[in-house]
């Protein structure tokens, strides 16, 4: 009974999990090195950055918006925090992380503010800020990298607890925290309500601006966190970081079942979406298939995912209509 309740309404997540297991099984047969603790940990570690950011992107998509400026945001924060860490010789890790989260939140809040106040489609606003941010970053840094990070900061993301790297643990904590915010706090419910129906939410006194600000700010903050982890893990920051991230995030989120029109979220699905794309990439590499098949596979999976969710929603509408008739 309890188990059934747990899985109720989670068809999509179940299907995704099944696909992941199936794919894992296929790759394990092809290459024995896939299903090893080392490789699984590597997949998780390699996707922690995307995983953390995709939960934030999910929040923004839930409000019915989108943020395509996450790539440059990510790059700006890796550059700034890496420079700071280098100046401090990697001491003050806590301050560095906080700095990253704060800068990210500010960038996100700016996007949210413009979208909410000017009432312009988010994709256009963030396209503008994306150009401004990336251009400014290149102009200021002149394309130079920050490298040679040392000290505690360089060890921060890679420290392991029970075999799991710290970035992976932080990823899981972010998932739990997001679950708590979205389903057990007022602002989370507000975000879902605004995404579901802006006008209805406005009528019952939910502030659209506040929901937008929180969602964009949250994405920014998570981008900051992910950027710090990335700088710490790779010990390098470059102004071209994060190009194309927005597409990966949107793909992972949508594969996970978050509805593009807003109002429906799936944290577990987003996690599984990231995992699925990660496993495909990893499996292709391990199976020695040329890397350029990756984009083809990603594209196919995305198309199949959105097509299947279109069929699913058609079915659910039919069921609802049938229920009304009774």
């Amino acid at each position: 009974m309890k188990v059934r309740q747990l899985f109720k309404g989670k068809t999509r997540e179940m299907i995704l999990a099944a696909v992941i297991i199936l794919m894992g099984a296929v790759v394990s047969v092809i290459t024995p090195s896939f299903f090893t603790t080392l490789n699984i940990t590597n997949i998780l570690n390699g996707n922690a950055v995307i995983g953390i950011m995709s939960v934030g992107m999910m929040m923004v998509i839930v409000t019915g918006n989108i943020d395509v400026s996450v790539g440059p945001q990510f790059a700006i924060i890796t550059m700034l925090t890496a420079s700071y860490a280098k100046a401090e010789h990697g001491e003050n890790v806590f301050v560095t992380v906080l700095l990253g989260i704060l800068i990210g939140a500010c960038l996100g809040l700016f996007n949210g503010l413009v979208v909410a106040k000017l009432n312009i489609p988010a994709i256009v606003v963030t396209l503008g800020t994306m150009n401004i941010m990336r251009g400014t970053l290149y102009l200021v840094t002149k394309g130079h990298w920050v490298e040679g990070l040392t000290g505690p900061f360089a060890k921060f993301a890679n420290a392991r607890y029970m075999g799991l790297p710290r970035s992976v643990i932080i990823w899981f904590l972010v998932l739990l925290f997001t679950y708590f915010i979205l389903y057990h706090t007022r602002i989370g419910r507000d975000i879902l309500a605004v995404g579901g129906n802006k006008i209805a939410a406005g009528r019952i006194g939910i502030s659209r601006t506040r929901a937008y600000l929180c969602a964009f700010g949250y994405l920014g903050a998570l981008t900051g966190l992910a950027a710090v982890l990335s700088a710490s893990r790779l010990k390098i920051a470059q102004p071209s970081n994060g190009i194309g991230y927005e597409m990966q995030l949107i793909a992972a989120t949508v594969i996970g079942g978050t509805v593009f029109a807003g109002g429906v979220a799936s944290i577990l699905g987003t996690f599984l979406g990231v995992l699925l794309l990660g496993i495909i990439n990893n499996g292709l590499v391990l199976s020695k298939i040329p890397i350029y098949w990756q984009d083809l596979a990603t594209g196919l999976i995305l198309i199949i995912a959105v097509a299947s969710s279109a069929f699913q929603s058609k079915k659910s509408i039919k069921i609802r209509k049938g229920g009304d008739a009774k």
């Binding site: 489609p121 503008g128 994306m130 350029y292 098949w293 596979a297 198309i303």
Partner: protein
Amino acid sequence: MRANSKAVFAKSSTIMILLFIALFIFFSVASRHFFAVGNIMNLFAQMVELGLLTLAMAVSMISGGMDLSIGTLCSFCTVLLAIFISQLALPAGIAIVLVLLIALLCGALNGFFVGYLHITPMLVTLGTQSLFLGLGLVVSKGVTVSIPIDQLAIFGRYKIGGVFPFQILLFIAAIIFSVILFNHSRTGRRIYLIGSDAEVARFAGIDIRNNLLFTYVFSSFMAFAAALVIASRISSGRADVASARILQTVCAAVFGGVSTLGGIGTIGGAMLGVAVITIVSNGIDMLQVSQFLQQIITGGMLLIVLAFRHARKNNLGIA
């Protein structure tokens, strides 16, 4: 409301023309290399590739969607052209026809998902964007495929009388064709209506599915045209040659008054957007300032134009 919105966008195209003239004068004064026959011809030639891709983007935006796949589709077409001509040694004419058919098929794939399965266009084309990139990479094995220098020269390298680039004529023909189709024909009006309110369009008895299918096929046709010009100009095909153009096309279309929500804006307006973006890019090159400044200016102008338009929209009281 109809008249109002028409007035707004008539005004916004006047602003774009004024902006273009102002930028033209500014760059002519600021750089002595700018106002020369060679550079002016070059300026117009530079508009062609972005312009053709913006035509593709603008029509999908007018229909209420957004075709993100045109950049990689265009690149995929350049790869196919190169492979057909240089590796399979097909005559250029046959290669062009074959690639055109494949491009239209790709467009029909988008259109099928959008029109027949009712999936959000951005998601469909996000998927096909990746798909076409992958196809291009797989076919070309990830390398640049060159085209013999004597093939396809007319589309991107031939200059009439040694001065006037031929592709400008091609571009003008494409614009006239699109303007007639979208702003002066019944099909165009239907697509505008679908873009502004699909539900109303359905009640009006418009065949939404096939009109959307047509829109995305048209889009792929323009992407193919851009591929011809690019492949000819660089005498080669590469799977990511045009993928970064996609953001510029959205900027150009939005500049020109095309709404991302669909149903609003004109082809001519979008082309003015192309002109402004190209002149900024060309002028900044001539001033020998960092290319990155151009990115900042484009982004900044986008936000400012939108903020202005928002303010005026509120004054006129249309949502």
